[in-house]
C-alpha cells in the first residue's frame, strides 16, 4: 500500500465531511466497544492474564534472534522452507518466485496485513498470478480496489448498499441488500476458487518456536481452506510474531478475540506445522514461511521495543476518539489508530508520517484496553519529542514551545505571563464569554468556541487562600 500519511490533515478533514463514512463509523463504534467491555467483564483475572501476556512477549523479544532460530530449526525439520526478507520488495520477490517456479496461476489468500504492507497483490498480478482475497471484508475491498481501513474489520467503512453495488457488478446477479443473503452469495462465489487455487497465502497471528508452527485466527473458516486445499502454502508474517510455546498461545488467545470483537474464542484457530504427512488426504506438498523485517527491527533494543508486543487485535483503534471520527483511511497506510501512529512513522520514516503521533487526544484509552499493556500514549509522546529534536515540526509550533519552556523555568515570569494571558483571553471572550477565534492558532476554533477564562487565576486564588490561613 502506498504511503499517504503525509496528507493526514487533508484526508481527515475530508473524512469528517463524508456523511456516509460518518454514519458507518457511528454504527461500528458501539459494537466494538460494548462487545469488548462485556467479554472482558466475564474474566475476573483479566489483569493477571494481561500482565502474563506482556511479560511473555517481552521475554521473547529480549532473545528474539534465538527464538527465531529455534522456530526456523523446528519448522525446517517438519518440511517447511523458511525465507527471510529485509524489505517489502524482497518479501514479494520470494513469493512471486515460488509461484512462478511452481506454475501457479491462482492464489487464494486469507487476510494478512503484512501482505497489504508489502503490496503483494499488485506484485502477484504483475507476474500474471491471480490473487483472490477470501476474508469477506478483504474480498469486498478487492472488488472495490481499496485498501483496508481497519486491521480486523477491513471493510468497516463500507455500507451494505455500497457492498451491494460491488457484488451486483462482480457476480452478475440481482442486487441483494439482505446481509445474510449477500454473505451466502460471496460464499458461493469463492467456493470454486478455494478448491481450484494452486497456492494458498496466509498471514500468521503467531509463530511458535517450540514446534515450528504457524497459526491463523479467523471466524469465517477461510484460512482453513487456504492452508489445507492448495498444493503450496505460503505464510507471510513479521519477525516479531514468534512466541515460545503452545501454552503461550493459550494465554494470548484468551486476550485476542475478547479484545478484538468481544468473543470468548474465535471460531477457527488453525495451527499448521510443516507439509502434508504420508497418507494425508489434504494439506500442502510445499510449505514456505516468509519472515519479514521491513522496519520491525528498528524497534528492537530501543526505548520503543514494547510496540513489538502488539498482537493486532485493533482494540486501540476501536476505542480511539480520533479513529472513531476519521476512520482508517485518513491515516494513509495499513495500520490506523494509535498502533499505526507508532508503527507507520517507524516503518516508513517519521518525515513521511509526521502528523500521526500528533493525531491523538492522549485520553489514554488505548493503553487501558491494550491486551499486552503497550504504553501507546508514551510511545507517541516519544515520537513527538523525536520530531521536535529533528526539527520536523513547523516553526509555528517550535517557537511557542521554546518560549513556553523559557517561561516555565522562571516561575515569576510564568506567573506574570499567565496572568496577562488569562486577562487577554477573558477580554477576547467578550460579553458571551466565548472565544470564537484564537489569534494565530485558529485551527482550534474552527469547529468550536473556546470558553473564556473568568475571575482570578489559580495562582491568585492559591495565594489568597494561603494568606487567609
Amino acid at each position: 500500500m502506498q504511503v499517504q500519511s503525509m496528507f493526514f490533515k487533508q484526508n481527515a478533514s475530508a473524512k469528517l465531511n463524508d456523511a456516509v463514512l460518518q454514519r458507518n463509523m457511528q454504527k461500528a463504534k458501539g459494537k466494538f466497544v460494548d462487545g469488548r467491555a462485556k467479554a472482558v467483564s466475564e474474566v475476573e483475572n483479566w489483569e493477571a492474564i494481561r500482565t502474563h501476556a506482556a511479560a511473555l512477549r517481552d521475554k521473547c523479544l529480549a532473545n528474539l534472534d534465538a527464538y527465531l532460530l529455534e522456530f526456523e530449526a523446528n519448522a525446517t525439520r517438519r518440511g517447511a522452507v523458511v525465507h527471510w526478507a529485509e524489505t517489502a520488495s524482497e518479501a514479494c520477490d520470494i513469493i512471486v518466485r515460488i509461484a512462478k517456479e511452481n506454475g501457479v496461476k491462482k492464489a487464494t489468500k486469507s487476510k494478512s496485513m503484512v501482505s497489504e504492507e508489502v503490496n503483494l497483490n499488485e506484485r502477484l498480478e504483475a507476474a500474471g498470478i491471480q490473487p483472490i482475497e477470501t476474508d469477506l471484508g478483504e474480498y469486498i475491498l478487492q472488488l472495490a480496489g481499496e485498501p483496508p481501513s481497519h486491521i480486523v474489520a477491513p471493510a468497516v467503512h463500507k455500507s451494505k448498499e455500497q457492498v451491494a453495488d460491488l457484488f451486483e457488478a462482480a457476480h452478475h446477479k440481482p442486487r441483494l441488500t439482505d446481509i445474510p443473503a449477500m454473505t451466502r452469495e460471496a460464499r458461493e462465489a469463492l467456493r470454486d476458487h478455494f478448491l481450484t487455487a494452486d497456492m494458498g497465502i496466509s498471514g500468521a497471528n503467531f509463530i511458535i518456536a517450540e514446534t515450528g508452527t504457524t497459526l491463523t485466527v479467523t471466524n469465517e473458516g477461510n484460512a482453513d481452506m487456504v492452508t489445507t486445499v492448495p498444493r503450496i502454502h505460503c505464510v507471510i508474517t513479521g519477525v516479531e510474531k514468534v512466541i515460545p510455546t503452545l501454552e503461550d498461545f493459550a494465554t494470548l488467545i484468551r486476550l485476542l478475540p475478547r479484545s478484538a470483537v468481544g468473543q470468548t474464542i474465535a471460531n477457527y484457530l488453525t495451527l499448521t506445522t510443516g507439509t502434508k504427512m504420508p497418507g494425508d488426504q489434504d494439506g500442502p506438498e510445499q510449505m514456505h514461511i516468509v519472515l519479514v523485517d521491513a522496519g520491525r527491527t528498528k524497534f528492537v533494543g530501543t526505548d520503543m521495543q514494547e510496540m513489538l508486543r502488539c498482537i493486532r487485535c485493533g482494540a486501540c483503534m476501536n476505542h480511539c476518539p480520533v479513529y472513531q471520527n476519521v476512520g482508517g483511511h485518513a491515516y494513509g497506510w495499513v495500520y490506523p489508530g494509535p498502533m499505526g501512529s507508532i508503527l507507520t512513522p517507524t516503518y516508513v520514516g517519521i518525515e513521511n508520517a509526521g502528523d500521526l503521533p500528533n493525531a491523538a487526544t492522549f485520553c489514554g484509552e488505548c493503553q487501558v484496553v491494550c491486551p499486552v499493556k503497550i504504553p501507546l500514549p508514551d510511545l507517541m509522546r516519544k515520537l513527538r519529542e523525536r520530531q521536535h529534536d529533528m526539527r520536523l515540526r513547523p516553526w509555528s509550533e517550535r517557537l511557542p514551545m521554546a518560549l513556553w519552556a523559557f517561561a516555565a523555568r522562571r516561575p515569576g515570569l510564568y506567573a506574570l505571563l499567565s496572568r496577562l494571558g488569562a486577562r487577554f483571553a477573558s477580554w477576547l471572550g467578550g460579553k458571551d464569554k466565548l472565544i470564537h477565534a484564537l489569534p494565530g492558532i485558529d485551527g482550534w476554533t474552527q469547529g468550536r468556541d473556546m470558553p473564556a477564562p473568568e475571575g482570578r487565576t489559580f495562582r491568585e486564588l492559591y495565594a489568597q487562600k494561603r494568606g487567609a490561613r
Binding site: F32, W84, I265, L271, D293
Partner: protein
C-alpha cells in the same frame, strides 16, 4: 550477507550483543520452552464440572448438543437432520462406517467431504470446556474438510475426551501423539462473519450448523 544474517545481526547489534547467537543463548531459550509455563486461567475454566461448562459454552456459540449412548448416534443424527429439514446423506470419517447408519435411514459415505456434500460427520481428538471448542488433528483417515466444507457439521465427542482448557488439550496431544501433526484445527461453533456493517451472520465459509453428540 544474506537477508537472514542481516536481520539476525541487526537484532543483536541493537540489543548490544556482538557476534552470532551463542550456544548459551540457545540453551536458555530451549530451557524456557521446556518449562511450558502456564499462564493465569479464568476461574470459570477451573470449574469442577467441565461437562456442564462445555455445554453452556456450546450454547453461547450456537452449537447444539445432544447426549446419547454410542450405539444411538446414527439415530440421533437422523433425528437432528429431520428436525432441520436436511437430507440424509452424510460424508463421514471411515472409522465410524461400521455403525448402524442404514437402520437409521442414513446414507453414510466414508470419505473426505467435497463441495457438494451437505452434511459432514467427524469425531475429534478432544473437546475444550472453557470455550466449547472441538480439536481436530489431521491424519490420513480423519479429513478436516468434513468439518469445514458442508453446511452442517456433526461431531461425536465421548464425554471422557472433554478437557478443561487449551493447555490441557496441548498436554494431551504431547502425551498421546507427541509432536503436533500437520494441522491442529480448533473449531468453536458454526462459522461467522461480521464484515458487512458489523452485522453478525452465521455461516461464512465454514458450516452454518454444528451439532455435537456427546456419548
Amino acid at each position: 550477507m544474506s537477508a537472514r544474517d542481516n536481520i539476525l545481526a541487526r537484532i543483536r547489534r541493537q540489543q548490544g550483543r556482538s557476534g552470532p547467537t551463542t550456544a548459551e543463548e540457545m540453551a536458555l531459550v530451549r530451557a524456557n520452552i521446556r518449562e511450558h509455563a502456564i499462564g493465569p486461567q479464568p476461574n470459570a475454566a477451573r470449574a469442577a464440572d467441565s461437562l456442564a461448562l462445555f455445554k453452556s459454552e456450546c450454547a453461547r456459540l450456537l452449537t447444539t448438543v445432544a447426549e446419547v449412548d454410542e450405539s444411538a448416534v446414527p439415530g440421533e443424527v437422523a433425528r437432528y437432520l429431520d428436525s432441520a429439514n436436511l437430507g440424509k446423506e452424510v460424508a463421514g470419517w471411515s472409522e465410524y462406517s461400521q455403525w448402524s447408519w442404514e437402520a437409521a435411514g442414513i446414507h453414510y459415505a466414508a470419505r473426505a467431504a467435497n463441495k457438494d456434500d451437505t452434511t459432514g460427520f467427524t469425531g475429534c481428538f478432544c473437546a475444550i470446556a472453557e470455550t466449547g471448542t472441538l480439536l481436530l488433528l489431521s491424519s490420513p483417515e480423519r479429513p478436516k474438510l468434513n468439518a469445514l466444507l458442508p453446511e452442517t457439521h456433526i461431531c461425536v465427542v465421548p464425554k471422557s475426551r472433554i478437557v478443561r482448557t487449551m493447555e490441557e488439550a496441548f498436554a494431551l496431544v504431547r502425551a498421546e501423539v507427541g509432536e503436533p501433526p500437520r494441522a491442529m484445527f480448533f473449531a468453536s461453533g458454526p462459522s461467522r462473519t461480521a464484515d458487512i456493517e458489523q452485522t453478525i451472520v452465521i455461516g461464512a465459509h465454514g458450516p452454518y450448523r454444528v451439532h455435537v453428540i456427546l456419548t
